[in-house]
């Protein structure tokens, strides 16, 4: 370690990787499409606007489903549902998970051990299975129930990660320095813990967003997600299953939409860490 450089190096700048740009573009496209459907759509998503199982054409870019509804309109509306589920589930998972994780990190060893064991048991259940149990235990399938179920199921993963990250931060000398500086525990969480766990946490939350979209599609595929006439991508896939050989685009189109959003979220998540973390910036 040397001290011989009185001149400062040039300031660092955020690094936008190609993956981040591609991810942000894919996610941005879905967000724009989802927002547009709040005001406008090519057709009424519940109306029969063409022949049954029509192939893609200028009038129906993705063809029609077995009831003659415009598939492109349904996919556009499905983007809104997928994003609503992702945002809602991640908000629930982040609120519950970060709170429990921080409490565990600050708790006495006994309380921490109990919380850690509970989280490990919850994580042992696959997210989808846990969400199915919660939906089954509720009054019935609805979009709200799906969001709640996926959010609760994902919160244990977020809590566990938060606990591990926060404990690592709390062991650092700068936390001791903060205590010596007179910073209280709430201040330490706000000033030091959250900003230091944020870059890793945001990546995980973005990944959870993608998993939530897949989980909602899976629940809808099984009839436990957004009920008809909501145009969930999972329900579209389920409905296209019977006609996949005669009208494959009914399965391919919602599949492309789902995969592109999830890949976009994953790429976006990976690049987000570089933007959120000043220590990963290039000089």
């Amino acid at each position: 370690m040397t001290d011989a450089t009185p001149a400062l190096s040039p300031p660092s700048s955020p690094r936008l990787t190609p993956a981040f740009v591609i991810g942000a573009t894919l996610v941005g496209l879905h967000v724009i499409v989802g927002l547009i459907t709040l005001f406008w759509a090519p057709y009424d998503p519940t109306a029969m606007t063409g022949g049954r199982l029509a192939p893609p054409s200028l009038a129906h870019w993705a063809g029609t489903d077995r009831l003659g509804r415009d598939l492109f309109t349904e996919i556009m509306v499905g983007a809104r549902i997928a994003l609503a589920v992702g945002i809602g589930a991640v908000a629930i998972a982040a609120t519950i998970g970060v709170t429990i994780g921080l409490l565990a990190a600050f708790a006495s060893r006994t309380v921490d051990d109990v919380l850690a064991a509970t989280l490990d048991i919850l994580i042992a259940f696959p997210t989808l299975l846990l969400a199915m149990l919660i939906v089954a235990a509720s009054d019935g399938a609805s979009l709200g129930t799906a969001i709640l179920a996926i959010g609760i199921a994902a919160s244990s993963i977020v809590a566990r990660l938060t606990r591990i990250l926060a404990r690592r931060v709390l062991a650092m000398d700068y936390i001791t320095a903060a205590r010596v500086s007179g910073t209280g525990w709430l201040g330490i969480v706000r000033i030091h813990v959250l900003p230091n766990i944020w870059p890793t946490l945001i990546v995980n939350l973005a990944l959870q967003f993608g998993l939530a979209v897949i989980a909602e599609a899976s629940l809808s595929y099984l009839g436990l997600g957004a009920p008809p006439p909501n145009a969930s991508w999972g329900r579209l896939l389920q409905e296209a299953q019977a006609t996949v050989y005669t009208a494959p685009f009914g399965a391919v189109a919602p599949g492309i939409a789902l995969v592109s959003l999830v890949i976009g979220l994953n790429l976006f998540a990976d690049g987000l860490r570089d933007v959120a973390d000043p220590t990963r910036r290039r000089r």
Binding site: M1, A4, T5, P6, S181
Partner: protein, 250 residues
């Protein structure tokens, strides 16, 4: 005047692992104190007790004659403003997500010190010979020695009476070490230093008084001049003999 007094202080981790035994210590304003001992001798534990980060298992710690009680918020606010610290590792003692200005300003903000924060930060940076442009940078943009200067700036920004430094140069190379020693020497004109180190040579450069610790017990204490010129305890003699010296080629 006595700043901090330790009277018959003992400390144990858990019920059985006693690491400090009946420590009697007095830190006086204007007289730098060096606490010297090998790894595991209890130096850092004493430092934590002196900073109010741990409570003694038995004995009494007083700041300006008042018992040091971490539960007394008002008292601790005054204590924190008067007693600050610099830690060993300049890489882990600075929050990597905070800009240098925020790192240095933290004691002022946390202790609600009524001052112009920007001006105080600039003054602290100037005191440690760092340019004012450093305020807007992150710690990873600095070398180890520069980071230690930032840590020292944070420690002195609230103008404390006492600065405790834990192995503050042990992670630095020789030339950087000399610069930090010079910096601490100039700082000691306006604040009292307590230096915790295994390096008796470094401590002797800056301290008027010495405490020699072995296995959690004080084996010798007094003026640095007396201890260095005529060490009484065999452990102190061994410490002095083990200080690295260049071979004599004359």
């Amino acid at each position: 005047m006595s700043l901090i007094d330790l009277a018959a202080v003992s400390f144990a981790y858990g019920r059985s692992r006693k690491v400090l035994h009946d420590i009697d210590l007095r830190i006086e304003a204007g007289r730098n104190l060096g606490i010297v001992g090998e790894s595991g001798s209890g130096k850092t534990t004493i430092l934590r007790l002196l900073l109010g980060l741990a409570r003694p298992t038995s004995g009494r710690i007083a700041f300006r004659g008042e018992p040091l009680d971490p539960r007394d918020r008002l008292f601790m606010r005054g204590f924190r403003r008067s007693v600050q610290a610099v830690f060993q590792d300049p890489y882990s003692s600075l929050d990597p997500r905070q800009k240098v200005a925020d790192i240095i300003a933290e004691p002022l903000r946390s202790l609600n010190v009524d001052t112009d924060i920007d001006a105080a930060v600039a003054e602290a940076l100037a005191s440690v010979d760092l340019p004012s442009g450093a305020a807007g940078r992150y710690p990873h943009e600095f070398s180890g020695g520069q980071r230690q200067r930032i840590a020292i700036a944070r420690a002195i920004v609230s103008q404390p009476e006492l600065v405790l430094a834990d192995e503050v140069v042990s992670a630095l190379d020789l030339t950087t070490r000399i610069r930090i020693v010079d910096l601490l020497k100039s700082l000691s004109e306006r604040t009292t230093l307590v230096l915790v180190s295994h390096d008796i040579g470094f401590v002797a450069l800056l301290c008027q008084d010495l405490v020699i610790l072995e296995k959690g017990r004080i084996v010798e204490q007094g003026s640095a001049r007396n201890i260095l010129s005529a060490p009484k305890h065999p452990y102190t003699q061994r410490l002095l003999e083990s200080t690295p010296r260049l071979p004599d080629f004359t």
